[in-house]
Symmetry: C2
Subunit: 300 residues, 2 copies
């Protein structure tokens, strides 16, 4: 009896329990982080906005010149198969394209590699834990690192270059915060480890333009704002303006929108989630239940 | 009969052929590139400057707050064991420390992970192929990306954040060059994918100070320069000064010093390796044969 409860993966064409899914230590996806991925949620038995995630994953592969044998239909079938096999009603589902290894050992040319696809799913996870979400998160603005600039590594191509995030996370924990947010080299907000950031100021919703992922959850929040009549701006967001905002929240595939009650020493709304943030969060979860945006998993 | 000719690895405490050495797809060493490594050469049956590599590997782990069970003596023993098992007289030997995965699935805190060590060796490889070395390499200065700045990811801590290098490599190949070199955001030289860069100008040796690895091969080259009476400078090196230099060469553990005969449109020394570069290269290889710097492998 294999244990599927912790998740499943498809790798080298075979579906295996998550604990058995491994890649080679000389794969350039590891040794050069020459790899891209995307993560789509399964919520109550259905993928949410799967075509949007597949589209972004294809764009990421094209940007990195990664060519995998699978087309979108095959990727979609693989994602359905692993979620069904694991029997997960709520899941965090990763699709990955890696450079692989060169046919000639020792070759250094990425064009000489056989690129490959794999995917895995685990029970739904939250970048910010549920108990933190309930009271509102405390964020720390890193003082020691800036977000990797987009003319070094393109953040719109989802990537595993998390060195800046990891250092910022340690710094945040050292200061008693729940997570971190990074500024770019010009002092504007960028993003945190695994989430976009937003603020509400003067009744307007503002989220950073550059040096961050164009999150699909961010997009859903922007659509929710439009439905609620909240004007939204995607633009450079100076740190001082962010700190002085009325409300702050984060958004990610892995947990949706999460209210923030403190950034560094600044406390928002007397330490309680703000009304606009809460309205957007409620609308987001309502949107995840709309049939047009859902792709039902065919469980056995 | 297992095939050890392509290399060996030690992972999860077991020595296996290189093709069987794999890490989990959810290991943060992969999914966050939360990992550090070092690479030491074995040349004609002995490690070269192994204590220096072990020291840098320890410093890298400390910088990333990675704590592995193995001490330097255990790491050294593991490296000897895999090279002996593979029977390689000339080898590229990697030692790696990875964050691992959190004990609680879904946790996001790097402090909750069991960090782990592994190592692998393959036949000696060259960042720049031997046939390119023989005629002198052509480098391309990336126009599309700058080196990841050191206040985002510290380049002195050896890391797998190669997204900028990979993009620059594609750009170099598109322009018919053999490899790439990157500038920092201020327009100074940094390094290339897997090597430091040097130039000779007015009889002086110059190598960049910032946004690059403090290479042990670079250090050997600086020591070689001292022995040969060539004054050396480690400082900011503006691109224009580099392009206008008399000679250019690269240096890496994986191939030693390699002459460069062209950078972008500029040809050096009528397309032949320069005399100071060649003197330093010859001294480097002579130094690799000095018993005091060698650590003999005990082959079976």
């Amino acid at each position: 009896m294999q244990d599927w409860s912790k998740g499943a993966a498809i790798i080298r064409g075979e579906i295996v329990p998550i604990a058995e899914a491994r890649i080679g230590v000389t794969d350039w996806g590891l040794t050069r982080s020459d790899i891209t991925y995307d993560v789509v949620p399964v919520l109550d038995g259905a993928f949410f906005r799967l075509p949007d995630y597949l589209k972004r994953f294809a764009a990421s592969r094209a940007a990195l010149r990664l060519a995998i044998p699978e087309d979108d239909a095959a990727i979609r079938a693989a994602l359905h198969a692993i979620v069904a096999r694991a029997g997960l009603r709520d899941a965090y589902v990763a699709m990955v394209a890696s450079r692989g290894t060169p046919a000639i050992p020792g070759a250094r040319d990425p064009r000489a590699c056989a690129n490959h696809f794999y995917a895995w799913c685990v029970p739904y996870l939250r970048v910010i834990p549920a108990e933190v979400e309930a009271r509102g998160a405390r964020l720390w603005v890193s003082k020691s690192v800036h977000r990797i600039p987009e003319d070094s590594v393109n953040p719109r191509v989802k990537n595993y270059h998390w060195g800046d995030f990891t250092q910022a996370l340690f710094e945040a924990y050292d200061h008693g915060a729940d997570s971190a947010v990074l500024t770019d080299h010009a002092g504007n907000l960028s993003e945190g480890p695994g989430f976009n950031v937003f603020c509400i100021a003067g009744g307007r919703l503002i989220t950073p333009r550059g040096h961050c992922l164009e999150g699909i959850t961010r997009q859903t929040v922007l659509e929710a704002a439009a439905e609620l009549g909240i004007p939204a701006e995607v633009r450079d967001l100076p740190l001082a303006e962010f700190i002085e905002a009325d409300e702050v929240f984060t958004a990610t595939t892995a947990g949706g929108p999460v209210p923030v009650v403190q950034v560094d020493g600044r406390v928002y709304g007397n330490g309680a989630p703000g009304p606009a943030s809460e309205a957007l969060r409620a609308r987001y979860w309502e949107m995840t239940r709309r049939p047009a945006l859902r792709d039902q998993v065919a469980y056995a």
